[in-house]
């Protein structure tokens, strides 16, 4: 999810500069620094840097995957969207009840086993191994890079806005500080640092969400009270599709449901699990963590709309103010501090995953696609982590609308390029490398072209049709069509060990 939610100022800065809020944020930064220092001492190889030495436990995996899945959007942009669009905004996260188990069946076991059998460290590695195709590996790495840099830029901007609002640093310095803190532990400790800070950040987010939901119910007089206040003045807000047409809400459900299988920051983490048989508990742990962390997403937007509906509060100037206004007005300042630490945690946990994935694409995947190998992947991984971070910070200084554009198509681009070749490809022996390459190219070209045309206002899609949904459907159909046309080559493109991984 994009962090473009914070392109408008997050909250009145003066209201955020309370000792308790700043104190909690400083405690958070200290904890992250300590975890980063610990992890950097344990990072001795490229395998440690990119897949945490394949040594993490199932609880860490599940919480870290949740933390990197739910960016700051879950705490600020999401509640803001619920406040403005009603129930329809919940369709973005509604499929989470299904996607974690789906991901376990479709990806987790195969990625983990393929990683062990081949010593793989990146998501494009899996595509390259599955189809015995450096071209497919390289093309998917290009798609990842395009989306990763945009994601990083929009998250740095969002983090910079929060840091500026809390510490009064000014936006430019806030962006640089956000980058430097995240970079310091990611470049030193790689994904090992990232995954353990994700664990801490995930715990912060979950505690913050559950605590805030308690105050939501208390402030709104329970869910009944919230619904009564809203339905008294607005008959559509709490309708099944909210303020959206049914087609738009359902389209969100589809994109974020099937598209969840193409998110590299989650798929990549399956390589890191120490014991693959512990995957048995992954859907249960991940679903529980996600359900608890999404309570804030749903609750805050609804209660703020109820407060406005019953006249207790004036209408918000910006929908994205819903969470800051609620926590500052209805919770103790320590809880507000926890929530803002949670927002920073969300942004940083998403960014560090993308730093690592982007660095791996340049250091590992693109050279392999060109038939070369980088001598010291650990050193170059660190160097490219720094270079990518600097590039993202420069992009984050561009006008807000441009940064929002860069961040907004990331999820759709990952989905359209990776779902067919990775999720279907690892489960269907009839898939071919030609189908994989055609579908990745289709997803990449369609998403970039249509998003750019829409950004430049060259056309508007009809209500209910999303660019990400259209690109995803077409890339899947192209994958099937081209694989069908070239099916005679499928068996020859499958190595014996990969076949075994696909059969178990």
């Amino acid at each position: 999810m994009s962090a473009s939610f914070l392109l408008a100022e997050a909250a009145p800065p003066a209201a955020l500069r309370q000792p308790a809020i700043i104190g909690v944020a400083l405690l958070y930064f200290t904890a992250v620094a300590l975890i980063g220092a610990w992890a950097s001492r344990r990072t001795r190889s490229a395998r440690d840097f990119f897949v945490a030495g394949q040594g993490i436990g199932i609880v860490t995996l599940a919480v870290a995957a949740m933390a990197s899945t739910l960016s700051g959007f879950a705490f600020i942009g999401g509640p803001g969207l619920v406040y403005s669009a009603g129930t329809g905004a919940v369709f973005i996260v509604l499929s989470a009840s299904i996607t974690n188990t789906m991901g376990a069946w479709v990806l987790a076991r195969r990625m983990r086993l393929l990683g062990e059998a081949r010593g793989l460290i990146t998501v494009p590695d899996a595509i390259g191994a599955r189809f015995r195709s450096p071209a497919a590996q390289g093309l998917s790495a290009v798609a990842l890079l395009v989306a990763v840099v945009g994601y990083m830029a929009s998250n740095f901007l969002a983090l910079g806005l929060v840091i500026d609002a809390m510490f009064g640093t000014g936006l430019a310095l806030g962006i640089w500080l956000a980058m430097l803190v995240t970079l310091s532990y990611t470049a030193a400790g790689g994904i090992l640092a990232g995954v353990y800070t994700d664990l801490f950040e995930g715990a912060v987010k979950t505690v913050a969400s559950v605590t805030v939901f308690y105050f939501v119910l208390r402030a709104g007089g329970g869910l009944d009270g919230i619904s009564r206040a809203i339905t008294a003045v607005d008959a559509t807000f709490l309708g099944p599709w909210g303020k959206m047409p049914a087609l738009s809400a359902l389209s969100l459900f589809f994109v974020f449901g099937l598209g969840a299988l193409g998110q590299p920051h989650v798929a990549h983490k399956f390589y890191m699990l120490r014991d693959p048989r512990r995957l048995k508990w992954y859907p249960l742990l991940m679903s529980a963590a996600m359900a608890l962390t999404l309570l804030l997403y749903v609750g805050v937007g609804l209660v703020m709309r109820a407060k406005v509906a019953d006249g207790a509060l004036p209408a918000l100037a910006r929908a994205d103010d819903a969470t800051p206004a609620f926590v500052l007005g209805f919770t103790p300042s320590v809880v507000a501090g926890l929530v803002f630490a949670g927002v920073i945690a969300a942004g940083m946990s998403t960014v560090n995953s993308f730093m690592n994935i982007g660095a791996a694409a340049i250091t590992h995947d693109l050279p392999r696609a060109l038939g070369r190998r980088v001598g010291d992947e650990l050193r170059w991984g660190r160097v490219w982590t720094i270079v990518l971070s600097l590039a993202a910070v420069v992009l984050a200084q561009l006008p807000g609308a441009v940064v929002a554009f860069l961040g907004i198509f990331g999820f759709g681009l990952f989905a359209a390029t990776l779902v067919p070749s990775l999720a279907i490809g690892l489960n269907w022996k009839g898939a071919t490398r030609e189908g994989a390459i055609a579908s990745i190219a289709t997803g990449l070209v369609l998403t970039l072209t249509l998003e750019t045309c829409a950004f430049l206002k060259l056309f508007t899609l009809p209500a209910g049709v999303t660019i990400s949904g259209l690109s995803l459907v077409l890339s899947v159909l192209v994958f099937f069509a081209v694989s069908r046309l070239t099916r005679a080559r499928a068996a020859a493109q499958l190595d014996d060990d990969v076949r075994v991984v696909m059969e178990v």
Binding site: A235, A246, S287, L477, V501, V504
Partner: protein, 164 residues
């Protein structure tokens, strides 16, 4: 049930979604029934992907099959009910667990009900149908054989007198 069925269901689901999108381009927008394309397509795509992932050696075992069918049914019934039931979200709306009836069916039905059975179905079928020690041994043996073959190839390609 063989792997062909999930694949066919996935293609049909994507075609249904593509059809619903195509209808939205008609003058006057999509007809109300176009939403059924997205309902059936989304539910079908998610259930078919799960079934595809849970299929082993071309067979989908009973626990996974039931879980996939239940997921499809729950999503279609919940979204379908929201389309078919009369709107009642105004003043004095009937509430179910704190939400208007149609909204409660969608949010609790799709957002919560699958949580009650999917992770448990996965865990319950894991040892027998997903991954056991024999599977791991098989994968590790295949990996060792591949490495050995690569080693033999490297030896064969090495110049005479060269020690790898």
């Amino acid at each position: 049930m063989t792997a062909r069925l999930p694949l066919a269901a996935l293609v049909l689901s994507c075609v249904a979604i593509g059809g619903a999108y195509a209808l939205a381009f008609l003058p006057g927008g999509a007809p109300p029934w176009a939403a059924w394309g997205l309902i059936l397509g989304s539910a079908g795509a998610l259930a078919a992907m799960m079934a595809l992932g849970a299929t082993r050696n071309g067979r989908l075992r009973p626990v996974a099959l039931v879980a996939c069918l239940l997921t499809f049914g729950v999503v279609v019934i919940a979204f379908g009910a929201a389309l078919l039931l009369p709107a009642d979200e105004g003043p004095g709306a009937r509430l179910l667990l704190g939400l208007p009836l149609r909204t409660a069916i969608v949010l609790y039905g799709v957002g919560l009900v699958p949580l009650l059975f999917l992770p448990l179905a996965y865990a319950a079928s894991f040892d027998a149908d997903t991954l056991n020690e024999d599977d791991l041994d098989r994968v590790r043996r295949a990996a060792r054989e591949r490495e050995a073959m690569r080693g033999r190839r490297a030896d064969a390609d090495a110049p005479p007198g060269h020690t790898p």
